[in-house]
Amino acid sequence: MSILTFTLRKRPDQRVDMSPLVHNKLAGMPVEEIRTLTLRLGKRRVEVDELFDVHGDPGDRFIIRNSSNKLDYIGREQESGAITVEGDAGAYLGMRMKGGKITVIGSAGIFAACEMQDGDLEIKGNAGDFLGGALPGNKQGMKGGTVLVKGNVGQRAGDHMRRGIILVEGSAGDYCGSRMTAGTIAVMGDTGRYLGYAMKRGTLLLWKQPNVPPTFNDCGSHTLTFLSLFFASMRNSDSKFSDPVAVFNRVRRYGGDMSSSGRGEILVKIG
């Protein structure tokens, strides 16, 4: 497999829009040409070479070394291939990605997986606010694919989420699942306040008993067949979710948000 490595020469003061550096845009481009592509750095335009030491062959795998939380829009609209980010990623990681895989060894900024359409996004550290959210004005956040966060996620994870799965091994901040239209967010750790605020549909699957909001009504304890399918779909993921110990299908179900259309659910593991 050919690997193209972008090594950040120096942490930039300015935020960098990384959206030009995705497989589908660079396919078949010689490395020399990639070095001369322009990137935005504040109000300046600079060549890739000024920021990155570029090595290797442009193929289906990119590595961003020495990455910084100022590198925004990594993997934007990526259609295929894999990007590994060694270090942190900035805002809008994997925005509208359509396929392939992005792995961040460090943490990601706000709006990771924003309006993501498909593919796999894995963040080994933490993710900021609005994971899987939508740009202001857009009504639909994440629409497909799977996001795995090994650490914690910020506030409003899955805001306006429309479809897809967000898996959080750590804890989620306040307003997890706000305004969700559908999809599944699974959180193994703690969840903050205002869970599922204004949620229309969708599922919050929790390992720990949350602070159940007053506009969610208890629907009792149930054994849900679909959870077997859910965990079966995790079997190949490199996460705690694939651990047979994690599997359960007996839950307490809370329905809401009754202030919105009320078709969503919080499912809390029993036992």
């Binding site: 740009l135 202001p136 004005g137 857009n138 009504k139």
Partner: protein
């Protein structure tokens, strides 16, 4: 400086010039007669090119609160169409709710040199003028909105005499710096504040006991008596409601000869026949327009794309909010003056109703005989953004293109329309009437919309092409007040147009009752309400052009 435009083929309907090769001379921003001895400073060889006056959009929502609400509602609309800055131009955004600067640039790039904001609330007129003050190149103007304001309805309920109402209307035109008077869903916006959800022509506003018919007659009379050139500009009752053609026909009858301009009439020309209980009333409406010479219309053509509807008619916009696409909308009640409703809309060619709306608009265009009484509008942005005009012109001028488009829409709608059987194709002369001479005439702009001596040198030069869309998209040259502002469809100079206003006379005694009303009920002092000339002029770009009234003249 003397500029000569040599050898162009001129279409100047005011002077009945229909495609004649003429030379034009410009000095100090005006078209002049051929000078006998002067040296030509600049000459443009326009042989083989089409020359018209700059186009005038007599109904386009380019300024005022509802437009800015539409902007705030649609960040996604702006993200999709960014407009970059250049050495000459400011950055901005385009599409359904474009930024002011981009609005000016894009209009000018299409050969337009004036645009009129048709829904200027008196209380919001200051904002409308400030927004329009940031629209470069174009001349501007606004029609002040009355008819749902509590002051008028109180006067009518109290049976105040017409003279007092005339004074109030004139005072409002002055204080809002307007060139015409608009009425939107007469009385309906007010009735909605009292939770009435419909108001047909002869229904009464529950609180005031006044009907839309009363309001229309009262305001149309005032406008005529005051000598305002532009007839009362009417957005009628029941916008968008199937069967509203009868309301529209009744409205025409109700006028009994009083001049009236029915705006975006497409939205008011619906029948209730067929499986969908929605049908075209275009033939009846066009016939009524043809028969009644006191009536003028603009169409409000829709196009199949994303846009946003912004209207003072919050009663109807509230009812329409279920169709919002994307699903977000704003309705407001405003200052005992009127209201507004902003609902994004995506017209779809495979939707029966939308497809038929499209066909109805075109039917009206093609069935109304007199191009001097019908105007080319999309009711920007309600039917479509103004950038659709070249496409619309092609639909009117090219019947085979029209038929090709007809074949792509919802088949039941295509069948329900008579469009396929209409042979008419607009000529360049008729387009020039509709978009220039007629528009200037109906607004009373004596020095615009034509190319005779003394006219402001607002001139657009096109290369004639078979594809009329391409032709009208990208003029070769646009002159604004004698300055070359566009070359090959691109801005080469940014100028600032004037604001056209009218100042009918009135008895200042009206201010006494108004001051009392303002003190008791309004949240502003009368003196602070009025817009002074220097507010428009003081930034060094804006200007005012006052047009005379035709006191005593016939309608």
């Amino acid at each position: 400086m003397l500029i000569k435009l040599t050898g162009g083929t001129v279409y100047d309907p005011k002077h009945e010039i229909n495609g004649e090769v003429r030379d034009l001379y410009i000095r100090d921003g005006r078209v002049i007669e051929q000078p006998s001895d002067s040296k030509i400073d600049q000459e443009y060889d326009l042989s083989g090119k089409v020359v018209m006056a700059g186009a005038i959009d007599m109904h386009t929502h380019i300024g005022g609160g509802k437009v800015n609400i539409a902007r705030m509602l649609l960040p996604e609309d702006h993200r999709a169409d960014p407009a970059c800055r250049s050495e000459l131009l400011r950055s901005g955004c385009g599409n359904a709710a474009p930024s002011t600067l981009t609005t000016g640039y894009r209009y000018a790039e299409m050969g337009y040199t004036a645009g009129f904001e048709p829904a200027m609330l008196p209380i919001n007129a200051r904002q409308a003028h400030m927004e329009m003050g940031d629209i470069p190149i174009l001349d501007k103007g606004g029609y002040v909105m009355l008819g749902s304001d509590d002051f008028l309805l109180r006067m009518m309920a109290a049976k105040k005499d017409q003279q007092a109402i005339n004074d109030y209307v004139a005072w409002t035109i002055h204080s809002a710096q307007a060139i015409g008077v608009k009425v939107v869903n007469p009385g309906g916006i007010n009735a909605f504040k009292f939770n009435q959800r419909t108001l047909d022509l002869d229904e009464k506003c529950a609180h005031y006991g006044v009907s839309p018919r009363d309001i229309l007659v009262c305001l149309a009379t005032a406008v005529k008596t005051l000598g305002v050139n532009h007839p009362l500009h009417v957005h009628g009752c029941n916008l968008g409601v199937p069967g509203n053609k009868d309301t529209t026909l009744n409205t025409i009858r109700a006028m009994d000869g009083l001049p009236l301009h029915l705006t975006h009439i497409q939205f008011h020309s619906y029948g209730t026949e067929g499986d969908f209980k929605f049908s075209s009333g275009a033939a009846e409406i066009a016939e009524a327009v043809n028969r009644n010479r006191n009536i003028s219309i603009d169409v409000g053509q829709i196009m199949f794309k994303q846009t946003v509807t912004a209207s003072g008619d919050n009663m109807r916009q509230f009812a329409n909010h279920h169709h919002a696409n994307p699903k977000k909308w704003v309705c407001m009640d405003i200052e005992c003056d009127a209201g507004c409703g902003v609902v994004p809309f995506k017209y779809r060619d495979k939707n029966f109703v939308n497809a038929l709306q499209w066909a109805i608009g075109l039917e009206i265009f093609l069935l109304v005989d007199d191009p001097w009484r019908i105007f080319l509008t999309t009711d920007h942005p309600n039917g479509a953004p103004f950038t659709s005009y070249p496409h619309l012109i092609r639909l009117l001028m090219d019947k085979s293109f029209r038929r090709d488009m007809l074949a792509t829409i919802h088949s039941d709608a295509a069948r329900a329309s008579t469009l396929a059987s209409i042979e008419r194709e607009y000529s360049l002369y008729e387009i020039a009437v509709m978009t220039r001479a007629g528009a200037a005439r109906i607004l009373g702009l004596s020095d615009r919309g034509h190319l005779g001596a003394g006219a402001a040198a607002d001139i657009t030069v096109y290369t004639e092409r078979d594809d009329k869309q391409k032709m009208f998209e990208k003029p070769d040259y646009v002159f604004k007040d004698g300055e070359l502002v566009v070359r090959n469809g691109e801005i080469v100079k940014v100028t600032w147009g004037t604001t056209h206003v009218i100042r009918p006379e009135f008895d200042p005694g009206i201010e006494k009752s108004l001051a009392d009303y303002f003190d008791r009920y309004m949240t502003m002092k009368l003196g602070n309400f009025k817009i002074h000339d220097d507010e428009i002029r003081e930034d060094g770009r804006g200007n005012l052009t006052v047009h005379p009234c035709r006191i005593g003249g016939p309608a």
